[in-house]
């Protein structure tokens, strides 16, 4: 049964179909929101909220685009709202994020390297306006057209934001090269990957 069929069943109130959708998307959405927010527990909470909206707003879903784009749109909107709220409240230190990553998350590989920490820091410094398209492109692997559909912006705007976001990320990382993690990043620069 494909996602469209599952969604049709969810629209009729089928909880088993909904559970199947949760099972299919939980890791992708949690990871996406984690990359956006930088906090694992927050990412899990937002993921739960995303799935609640998938269920309760199921009647709003129209099978014109990919189902995953719709789910990512919900998740991205929730993350944006959350990031705006957080910007007004407190700033979490990088050490806390790293501790959180080590203690509470279920990582597939070992991200606790100096490079990962610098990347995390650089991403956190990036405005959500640029962070979202960059993550959708470089972490989730979506095309620019799909990203335009998810964030509801023209493709030209998406291209510009990705380009500008990458440029800013590069600048932040260049600054970090002078720090303790310099060698790892310098190697990446040598390889022409940044």
């Amino acid at each position: 049964m494909d996602e469209q069929e599952l969604m049709s069943r969810v629209q009729e109130g089928d909880e088993a179909a909904f559970a199947r959708i949760v099972s299919l998307y939980k890791d992708r959405i949690v990871n996406f929101l984690y990359q956006l927010t930088g906090e694992y527990e927050r990412a899990v909470d937002l993921s739960q909220e995303t799935f609640m909206r998938v269920y309760f707003k199921a009647d709003k879903y129209k099978p014109v685009g990919a189902f995953s784009s719709w789910v990512y749109t919900i998740a991205a909107n929730l993350a944006k709202t959350d990031l705006k709220k957080r910007r007004r409240s407190i700033v979490v230190s990088l050490e806390d994020i790293q501790n959180d990553l080590q203690a509470g998350s279920f990582s597939e590989d070992a991200p606790d390297t100096g490079l990962a920490r610098n990347l995390r820091q650089a991403l956190d410094r990036l405005s959500p306006r640029y962070r979202l398209p960059v993550i959708l492109k470089d972490v989730e692997g979506y095309s620019q057209e799909e990203i335009a559909l998810i964030i509801k912006k023209p493709v030209g705007t998406v291209k510009a934001r990705i380009s500008r976001g990458r440029h800013m990320l590069k600048r932040y990382l260049e600054k970090a090269v002078s720090g303790s993690d310099g060698p790892a990043l310098a190697k990446e620069f040598e390889n022409g990957r940044v």
Binding site: E15, F18, A19, V22, S23, K26, D27, I29, V30, N31, Y34, Q35, Y40, A43, V44, S47, Q48, F51, M52, Y55, F56, L101, S105, F106, S107, E108, D109, A110, P111, D112, T113, L115, A116, L119, R120, L123, V134, I135, D138, V139, R166, L173, E188, G192, R193, V194
Partner: protein
């Protein structure tokens, strides 16, 4: 040109093992709380609609239906006093009921041959209340 792929080094995370259970629990909880809330909302909107209807009815009654008209309007409505129709004065119409007994009027004049009586049959009764 090689793609920007440094972000792949961020490392991926997975959902916690009990994620699905938590989602389903939350769904069940929301379903329980959302249904009464929706019912409450429906009741509230119905009550609001009824209140608006009553207020609307009262406003129409006060400002439209019982609007004090001019003397001309009221004369036209009652079909009386058309000559005063253009005065435009605001006044209340006082309905006067005056009892008349025509039998007394005609008795003394019956012998006069030159008199012409134009009689209008108002009622079979001789004693009639006439409304001006």
């Amino acid at each position: 040109m090689e793609e920007f792929n440094l972000l792949e080094k961020l490392g991926k995370v997975k959902a916690p093992p009990d994620f699905e259970r938590r989602v389903m629990d939350r769904l069940a909880h929301l379903k329980r709380t959302k249904a009464p809330a929706a019912l409450f909302g429906l009741r509230l909107s119905l009550a609001g609609a009824l209140t608006a209807l009553v207020i609307g009815f009262l406003l129409v009654n006060i400002f439209v239906l019982q609007k004090p008209g001019t003397l001309a309007d009221q004369s036209q409505e009652s079909g009386l006093d058309r000559s005063a129709g253009n005065s435009g004065l605001k006044a209340e119409v006082i309905r006067v009921m005056e009892p008349l007994n025509y039998s007394q009027e005609f008795r003394g004049l019956a012998s006069d041959r030159g008199a012409i009586y134009i009689l209008e049959n108002v009622s079979d009764k001789t004693y009639q209340e006439i409304r001006y």
